[in-house]
């Protein structure tokens, strides 16, 4: 097996350079990637309500062709009620009793979902509800089974990009990846000020807040624009290839802004 040193040495030779790459390195990278983006980050943080509402409208418009349903709600309890109605209305794709998987996350916790769904007798599973050592395989496999059987997965997001209707999720404890992936329906809840304009704003925010070595991306940063889709059979668009067939995004928009 070849070593990194030999492999990269061959690349350097192929490029026709002889040694000392320090000067080239300085032209390619900067010491702190966030330092390139100060202006953009400031812009995203100082947006007024009117600008934020414009971004929300753009998000709603961009979501439409993707089959992403963006719904504005005035507060968490209003959102929770909407989710309860959705749980009532939809039926599990793979049969069996209804259950829901959710992130352990301040915004999602504030919805009080276990309480709200109690009358329907629909259990809500989040990493919090599962007992056991934090690092045990048992705990993980038990969580996995819950997510596999859940027909709705409820998450928040770190950012949402208006121009492409894209949810952006870092992977941190409590915000597990499978919740937005395995259930047939994905429900995301965010606040109005989490909407930013586009990918350049995202890169700026991530790098600015981030630290080495991952610069704010965590071990897995996921971008989701609408439900899963395929056009592999005669270019016919079908939703629900492997991931969720439907995606709902509730944006908590304070009445003061709306």
């Amino acid at each position: 097996m070849t070593t990194q040193h030999d492999f990269i040495g061959r690349v350097t030779a192929a490029l026709g350079y002889a040694g000392a790459p320090e000067r080239r390195r300085a032209t390619v990278f900067t010491a702190h990637p966030g330092s390139r983006h100060g202006e953009i980050v400031k812009r995203t943080r100082t947006r007024n309500d009117a600008d934020r509402l414009m971004l929300l409208n753009e998000l709603i418009a961009q979501g439409k062709p993707l089959n992403l349903k963006v719904i504005s709600k005035k507060d968490p309890s209003d959102t929770a009620a909407a989710i309860a109605a959705l749980v009532e209305e939809k039926s599990p794709e793979w049969g069996g009793p209804k259950s829901v998987a959710a992130w352990r996350h301040p915004l999602i916790d504030s919805l009080d979902l276990p309480e709200i769904l109690c009358p329907q007798k629909v259990p809500v599973y989040s990493p919090r509800q599962i007992n056991g050592e934090p690092e045990s395989t048992n705990k993980r496999s038990s969580f996995r089974r819950r997510v596999e059987t859940a027909f709705i997965g409820i998450t928040s997001a770190d950012y949402c990009l208006a121009e492409t209707a894209t949810l952006v999720m870092k992977t941190v404890p409590g915000s597990d990846r499978s919740v937005s992936l395995l259930p047939s329906i994905h429900v995301a809840v965010i606040e109005l000020n989490q909407i930013i304009r586009n990918l350049p704003e995202l890169s700026a925010c991530l790098n600015y807040e981030g630290k080495p070595p991952d610069w704010g991306l965590t071990n897995c940063l996921t971008l989701i624009s609408g439900p899963s889709k395929t056009a592999d059979i005669e270019l016919t668009m079908v939703h629900g290839a492997h991931g969720p067939r439907e995606v709902y995004l509730y944006v908590i928009t304070p009445t003061a802004a709306a």
Partner: protein, 483 residues
């Protein structure tokens, strides 16, 4: 190494042209995706010129590839992943099988990856007793059919819904249907079981970000997220040129990639993966490996004439506009990469002589350059390959042109450099062509050895008075003009 059948280009092309089903499928993919991409470029806020910016960015990355790869590997290491460097296909395949053995892997789920197609990974894993399931719907269909992909992003484009229906009825035991939603749902159900039980997920990698130490995977189906989230081990394969320096480079490249590939604003799912599951996380693989593959790329890198092809991000936009691909489809190209990009990259990877028909077959119309999201000058390189083929040279296993052809062109070159000889030749030819000129004033057949020119087209005869004769005449008239 996967099977290379570039020698059968002409034969396969002829078969493809006669295949009516394929012809209508290709026409439909080009009509929809090709036009959609052109429109999507025009709608970019920065305008189509963004492609030039992206080109410069990619070229800068390629020209600093050593630094970028080193930074990427170090950062992935810091994030808890392992990076393996593989000189060739065999080394990459062996590394993957070793990882599978180490983690006691029996079942693998795979996301679509052209580089694994290039190195022939699937047959090697199967030979090692490991079950491999392709999970992209198109790849799954062709895996069930025992075929190979015919398009970089729509691998089963050569199959009709009826063919898929019959295939699923036979292989998956469902009642026959040709309804795409029902067929998709059948695959969804079958593959969900595979995802939930697989030990290892294998993916390619669309780009990598050196500065943050992440690879990125792009899909619309969600299969790559499944394959890289659920199994215990994730192995990603990357052609060594696919790395960019900074996170913000991805902003432009992803927007262009999504437009080039499917005329979308942004693909449905993009994941930046930098390492395995971290403390406190309930899912994600326990081990993450990145296998970085050379397999002939450093040779291309060293050749400044062809270095530019390493800017390619494999979006397939050039396939969707190429008049040649649009008639012969992907299989004729005889290797993982088809269309204009295949016609350039395949000869450079497998040998110019061996794959010469690929670049000789392209028309040099230039549509591929206009469609390329990173503005690669493919026509320039197609011509450069032809020159390399004619010139010969030990460097790329070319024998040089045919001797008779060389002699002919040398004589031709001497003739056209001499006014009298050239004019004499033309007069002779214009007399000699008379018996071959039909009633409609066109030449339908030329005698051997020129018969190839008229095999599939009619030629206009040479004029009886040449341009120079007419020019001289008109000048005489003008000179006589008293004014």
């Amino acid at each position: 190494m996967s099977k290379i059948t570039t020698e059968h280009y002409k034969l396969e092309a002829r078969k493809a042209i006669k295949d009516r089903v394929l012809q209508s499928a290709l026409a439909s993919v080009q009509d929809r995706l090709g036009k959609g991409t052109a429109k999507a470029y025009c709608e970019l806020p920065e305008g189509p010129g963004l492609r030039r910016t992206a080109h410069d960015m990619r070229m800068q990355a390629v020209e600093n590839l050593d630094i970028l790869l080193e930074t990427l590997a170090d950062n992935i290491g810091k994030n808890g992943g392992r990076v393996i460097f593989a000189d060739d296909a065999q080394a990459a395949v062996t590394a993957c099988i070793d990882i599978a053995r180490k983690h006691d892997v029996k079942q693998v789920v795979k996301g679509k990856s052209m580089v694994t197609e290039e190195i022939g990974l699937n047959p090697a894993l199967q030979a090692a007793g490991i079950e491999v399931t392709e999970t992209d719907l198109g790849e799954y269909i062709i895996q069930l059919a025992g075929e190979s992909p015919s398009h970089i992003i729509a691998p089963a484009i050569h199959k009709t819904r009826e063919q898929v229906g019959r295939l699923f009825a036979e292989k998956l035991g469902i009642p026959y249907t040709d309804d795409p939603p029902t067929l998709t749902r059948t695959a969804r159900k079958a593959l969900r079981q595979k995802f939930l039980t697989a030990d290892m997920g294998i993916s390619g990698c669309n780009l990598a970000c050196a500065e943050t130490g992440h690879i990125t995977t792009v899909s619309n189906e969600g299969n790559i997220r499944m394959a890289t989230t659920l199994p215990r081990v994730h192995v990603a394969f990357m052609g060594m040129e696919r790395v960019t320096a900074r996170l913000e480079d991805h902003d432009i490249l992803f927007r262009l990639l999504s437009r080039g590939a499917a005329a979308q604003h942004l693909a449905g799912y993009i994941s930046y993966i930098g390492g395995p599951r971290q403390t406190g996380q309930m899912d994600g693989p326990e081990a993450f490996y990145l296998i970085i593959i050379d397999n002939g790329r450093s040779k291309i890198l060293a050749d400044t004439e062809f270095r530019e092809i390493l800017c390619c991000i494999r979006c397939a936009a050039c396939l969707n506009v190429c008049p040649v691909y649009g008639k012969i489809g992907g299989h004729a190209y005889g290797f993982a990469y088809s269309g204009p990009v295949g016609a350039v990259v395949t000869p450079l990877l497998v040998g110019i002589e061996r794959a010469k028909d690929l670049f000789l077959g392209e028309t040099l119309c230039g549509a591929c350059k206009d469609a390329c999201p990173v503005d690669i000058d493919l026509p320039r390189m197609l011509l450069a390959l032809r020159a390399r083929l004619a010139r010969g040279g030990a460097d790329r296993t070319t024998r040089g042109g045919i001797t008779a052809e060389k002699v002919f062109y040398r004589a031709w070159s001497a003739a056209i450099c001499n006014r009298q000889v050239y004019a004499g030749l033309m007069r002779t030819a214009s007399m000699a062509q008379r018996p071959n000129t039909g009633a409609d004033g066109m030449i339908h057949h030329l005698p051997f050895p020129f018969d190839g020119w008229t095999r599939s087209r009619d030629l206009k005869p040479l004029t009886s008075t040449s341009f120079m004769e007419r020019w001289n005449k008109s000048r005489l008239v003008n000179d006589d003009d008293p004014t």
